[in-house]
């Protein structure tokens, strides 16, 4: 069982712990969930079905001895079609990874429209990274590439995005992608109240005692 505040607290008073909401956007089947699965569990599944049922993921990375960043990752839950989860995604998101498939030119257009929407709807200072996924396919068969890296990179620079070509399958650049985002996040704004998870800005943890509360509610019904 996890202990909240473990890693950060163990590092003493100078430890900084910050939690950020990261949203994943992009067309269906570009590999959004695979990138997350690689990042969070270091796994890959070629036959993974459209994301249903496993869209709550968190991963913690250590930037240096004193700095731990926890990503709360919001995957699309396979709901791209109606775009109806989008308003929930934008709200309070600190960072976004917009994914396209480097073997499908149209997926970059879709990614561009997501970027535009993020810039219009999300926090003013949201950090956006553009990830061209399925690099492994192109490494095996260069003629499969449909989006030149230079083109995507030029667009990313122009739009102020971080840019990586990734392979969820081989793990190439996946960790680098998330680390680059973590480094760009406003860690210096993380005050002393943010030093422990569950204790942010007067935050209250329902975790351990919450489960106790639940047992109590079952035992002594107060209705």
């Amino acid at each position: 069982m996890s202990t909240r505040g473990g890693p950060a607290a163990a590092r003493g008073m100078n430890a900084r712990f910050a939690q950020f909401k990261l949203v994943l956007l992009g067309e269906s089947a570009v590999g959004k969930s695979s990138i997350v699965l690689r990042f969070v569990k270091d796994q890959f599944d070629s036959y993974r079905e459209s994301t249903i049922g496993a869209a709550f993921l968190t991963q913690t990375i250590s930037l240096d001895e004193n700095t731990t960043v926890k990503f709360e990752i919001w995957d699309t839950a396979g709901q791209e079609r109606y775009k109806s989860l989008a308003p929930m995604y934008y709200r309070n998101a600190n960072c976004a990874v917009v994914v396209y498939d480097i073997t499908q030119a149209a997926s970059l257009d879709k990614a561009k429209s997501w970027v535009k929407e993020l810039q219009r709807q999300a926090n003013e200072n949201i950090i956006i990274a553009l990830a061209g996924n399925k690099l492994d396919l192109v490494t095996e068969q260069p003629d499969k590439r449909a989006v030149p890296a230079a083109d995507a990179e030029a667009y990313a620079n122009e739009a102020g995005l971080l840019f990586f070509e990734t392979s969820a399958k081989t793990a190439q650049n996946v960790r680098e992608l998330f680390t680059a985002i973590a480094k760009k996040l406003p860690l210096d704004q993380v005050g002393p109240r943010h030093t422990r998870p569950g204790q942010r800005a007067g935050g209250v943890s329902l975790g351990a005692s919450g489960e106790g509360a639940n047992t109590q509610a079952g035992g002594a019904c107060s209705c």
């Binding site: 996890s2 869209a55 968190t58 991963q59 990375i61 204790q199 329902l206 509360a213």
Partner: protein
Amino acid sequence: MESLGEEPWDVVICGTGLQQSLLALALSRSKKRILHTDPNYYYGQYEAALTLQEAESFAAKHAGGSSEAEKKRSVVRNAAVWKPDDAEAQGLKFPRAYSLALAPQIIHTKSKLLSSLVSSRAYRQVEFLAVGSFFVYEPAKDGSDPKLSRIPSSREDVFSSQSIPARSKRSLMKFLKFVLDFESDDQKPLWEAHADASLTDFLTAQFKLEDDLKRYVVALTMALDGKASVRSGLAAINRHLTSMGMFGPGFCAVYPKWGGLSEIAQVACRAGAVGGGIYMLDTSATMKPSGENEKASLELPNGITVQADSVISGQETTASVQAISRLIAVVKSPLNSLFQVLVEGAPTPAVAVVALPSTPSPIYAVIHSSDTGECPVGQCVVYLTTLATAGSKHELEQALVMLVYAVEGEDSTSPCLYQLYYEQALGDRQSTTENHGTTPALSFPPLSATIAFEDSDLEAVKTAWSLVSGDESDEDTYLVFEDREGADAEDEVYE
């Protein structure tokens, strides 16, 4: 999911208010085919949290009043927004920097809503903040300035209070001891005969409480009419006192960051989506006439017709005459002194509650610091509520000025950067069920527009869940789930 209209849905849920959303959460592991729609671009309906832009369209949509002739009235009416001409110069930021909660209810730590969020594991996606002090507004008297008096809210608190004379302390202590145990067989004889009488009279007769202390006790009941009965008042005070300290020292209630119950509705909908439910915003589903032996059909705006084995929605109109008036005001100073940590080890509170005496009914002001994420740092959002009367808008505006003056002193003549006003029906408190062909259709009543969340609002959700689940319903599994894959992988650090 190639065609929405192809085969019948097990349930179509219309609207993403708190109750519909909690139903979606309750069904999220059921393998039911769920279509969940909302006519708005945002989640939460009457429990939504709105940017200033959304507040403007909300006000435009609900600007209409209710003529006396109308039997059925819309749940929200007489809405209006206002800001000073030079609001931006005075510090109003961009519209998305604000999140005005239409349902800013505080949630007692003992509430079943919290235990359901914990048992369903949905609580992991919500950030809860502590609700801090409760105050009573004391008008200017004998040349002294108006001020806010903090209500002591535990026995330790009473004991250490400087402002209560020793003799009064004893009677208050006696009352607190009684109320903690008021449902026991020992204590029942003391109050049961007066259960429906006025709490104020009971406090005088049984506990000889002085006027100041009675005002504290009555304020803590948070009864909007200021006239709690003995039964409901004792239950409210008991809930307040027994909730204290449950999740940590110094607070008896919590508030979900980023917009109150809106946040819970969104997290619940998200759980519904993760479970395979299909979500469509900006979509109103209209019931079509159906034959006696047919399933109900609903028409979506794109011309598609869907069939449903059950339909769950929320009541859009109400026969109820009584309403609350609510003024949501963005205030240009942070009112920091309301958010002090008073107990060692307590989290910094993000919410404070002030009761202001007023006739015919009291005004409650609930103040949210910028920690709630509802406004930029350096400002706060004040939610004022009272029972609606012809003059209540003006009274709430005055109460806001009085409140800010009592906290800030002199320089606070026009404290407000932006305000949203509306009236909300108190509702009929009952869900309604009717049949469309072979399809049962249940409508949730509007949520209680109280200061604190009322657990009774959860009952209709369970009724709807049983209706949709039918024979498969097993009460023990209601809102009790395991964590989803990966949800608690927080101890592995990626070095």
